[in-house]
Point group: C2
Chain length 406, copies 2
């Protein structure tokens, strides 16, 4: 059994790095706050006897030796970055839970056959730089390191510049740390476990993701003197796109979701009809055929709206992550750990993307979910209970012991 | 006849202060660019022999003596500020046209009975600070000077701070310069004169304006893991409001227009359902009863949308300017000047608001319109021809001579 109070203490101690007035955390990847939590994490890993290295994209790897160093390590961990208005648990539970597993094994003097590697992946959230789960995507070879280093945030700062800015461009190449498998603990970020009174979600699959950048070019003109029929209003166009996206996602519901999270009017003014808007779209489904249908329906709806309103709309698919099907043996190991420990559990699909979904493309991976209050995440009110966090961490530990061998 | 080349030269010389790559002007009120054009204008007025004063809200007044100084001056002028993506003529033609009238009278050695006062009103556009036509509204007593000085832009800078920032908080109290009447030359900012091949618009009325500040409070949550039916999406709510506003304005069309020009998502992120949006609304009609109907329809549509989406929407009417009916005698003077000079003309309603609309509430006022290309305004592509600008300035001069007496 892990030390529930120590885990809880770590979560709340690190929540100070970027704490918001509403009780959440604002710790965008590679920000000053992210540097603080990374420094804390490195020291905590070193204090736990791990050998810590940082790769060229800033991901932190803390290695605990195994009896058989020819075996690839079992990877555990998640991320410490948050959304602009994020919570205290998303990613953090999985990373500090992994640290707690190491501390517990140390205290109990337990050695494992295979080594264990604790990981803090850079930019899981995808809020400052696209795509999400950027560093683990480069790790599995979906993108080159140089490509990722050149990605820009809204202010034009590149990943490379941001890494240098906080001193976290590591000296190890991406992929330097081989892993044999990966297990990630996370809050569910959805309402199912809580609603069904289950403690553990045994994650068997994850939704695929489509991310688009969009741009609407209408025509700026005077709000008072331009007759309604002559307008080419970029905001009215966006409004139709938002509602079309909602209708399309509902059509495939509950097997799909669709969101427009960002929309910025260029040079906005009260008495000017908006002429140009940049926006983003996020569509998901656990079913690849539905993902294709979402893409097709969305493109045709947008084409119709643009033509009717005599406005240009460009959309650019910037990221496509297929649905994830986790490794059956690892899924069984998680399920078995939950059963052995006496926690109620159910199989579940992840609505959110996770680094484990990337790792699963090149190695066996799995995930452990615990409930979060009202399914709320990506919100400062995100909440989870101490017993549930401890339960998930216990399941993580027992799963790791089963994989690594004692 | 005014000097068409000199007028054209002034318009293009001052267009350098805030010139944009697309051939427009970005000269927000009380900005560094606005200071440059104000300095230029003051010097040009002084060179033309005018006595120049600035009032506590930065409006510039250049007085040309009349034979009978007991008579109140005839005011002419407009504004030199622009929209963020504005053109070279909106306001500028009327201000530099007024200067050109003075220069022409000087060259011809013409004295008038009543004095003439050239005016550059502060913040006509209303883009940086609300409301539009702010300084002339204070001049006619719609707002106190202190109220206006405390208005803030989006960055929290007050009008008072902005005035001090460019050294244009004048030593004269607002209203220090009495005027007996006011005539404003302006581009039409709409498509009618051009479409009908008329050179002069004799403006007999102006639309009333309703400006609102709005705020939507939904609930931020995860774009991937929040099922569609559980969402309280602030952007989807805004989208319905935008389309409702459009439908309501069309219902009263062509007698009404409605626009949402500004909308800002708080803490936007690709994978977060928008939780909070601040927006503005602008509705207009030349018919007071339709203005009331717009307000009523809009409020009930918004209440329905908010209730159905379980989202809070607050709207706050920040400005209500009733429709304008210009002075019949001055309207006739403008019409007569056009006829005498041999220009085709028609009566017209102004779709935009103007300082003349404010002045009309306490003195006889009128306006002269000239065509602008494709009716485009509040756009960098705004355009007007040199002959039309000269024609309008000639009509302005002859109207002024008729009112002031030779
Ligand atoms: N787990 C999580 O919130 N990931 C962020 C990436 C995404 O799914 O949008
Ligand atoms: N003439 C003009 O563009 N005025 C700006 C104020 C408004 O009508 O919105």
């Amino acid at each position: 059994q892990i030390d529930s109070a120590r885990l809880w203490g770590s979560i709340h101690e690190t929540a100070q790095f970027g704490a918001t007035a509403k009780g959440g955390v604002r710790r965008l990847t590679l920000s000053a706050e992210d540097k603080l939590v990374r420094d804390w994490f490195r020291k905590a890993c070193e204090d736990a006897g791990l050998e810590v290295h940082t790769d060229a994209l800033g991901s932190q790897f803390g290695l605990r030796k195994g009896r058989d160093m020819s075996k690839p390590p079992v990877g555990i961990g998640s991320h410490l970055d948050t959304q602009p208005t994020g919570g205290k648990y998303d990613g953090i539970l999985g990373t500090l839970g992994a640290l707690e597993v190491i501390r517990t094994l140390n205290d109990a003097g337990i050695e494992t056959e295979a080594p264990i590697c604790v990981v803090n992946w850079t930019n899981e959230e995808g809020s400052r730089f696209a795509p999400a789960m950027m560093a683990s995507a480069a790790y599995v070879g979906d993108f080159t390191t140089d490509d990722i280093l050149s990605r820009k945030d809204a202010d034009g700062t590149t990943v490379g510049q941001a890494l240098d800015g906080i001193g976290y461009r590591g000296d190890k190449p991406v992929g330097f740390q081989k892993l044999g498998s990966f297990v990630e603990l996370h809050i569910e970020q959805g309402p199912i476990l809580e609603a069904e009174g289950k403690t553990i979600g045994v994650v068997d699959s994850g939704q695929g993701v489509l991310w688009y950048d969009g741009k609407i070019s209408g025509f700026e003109s005077h709000a008072g003197s331009t007759p309604m029929p002559l307008r080419r209003d970029a905001l009215a166009t966006l409004s139709e796109i938002v509602l079309a996206m909602e209708a399309i996602a509902r059509k495939y519901g509950p097997k799909a979701v669709g969101t427009i999270g960002e929309a910025v009017i260029a040079n906005p003014s009260r008495n000017v009809i908006p002429g140009e808007i940049a926006f983003t779209m996020d569509c998901r489904s656990a079913d690849g055929a539905i993902m294709d249908a979402l893409d097709r329906d969305l493109r045709s709806a947008i084409a119709e709206i643009a033509a009717r309103r005599k406005v240009e709309v460009k959309i650019d698919l910037v990221w496509r992550k297929p649905p994830t099907h986790f490794d059956p043996k690892l899924i069984a190991a998680v399920e078995n750990a939950a059963k052995t420990l006496g926690y109620s559990s159910r199989r579940i699909t992840s609505g959110a993307g996770h680094d484990a979904c990337n790792l699963n493309t090149i190695m066996p991976a799995a995930m452990v979910f615990v409930p979060c209050k009202d399914g709320i995440s990506h919100n400062e009110l995100e909440d989870a209970t101490q017993p549930d966090c401890a339960a998930g961490t216990n399941v993580l530990m027992h799963t790791v012991l089963a994989i690594a061998g004692v």
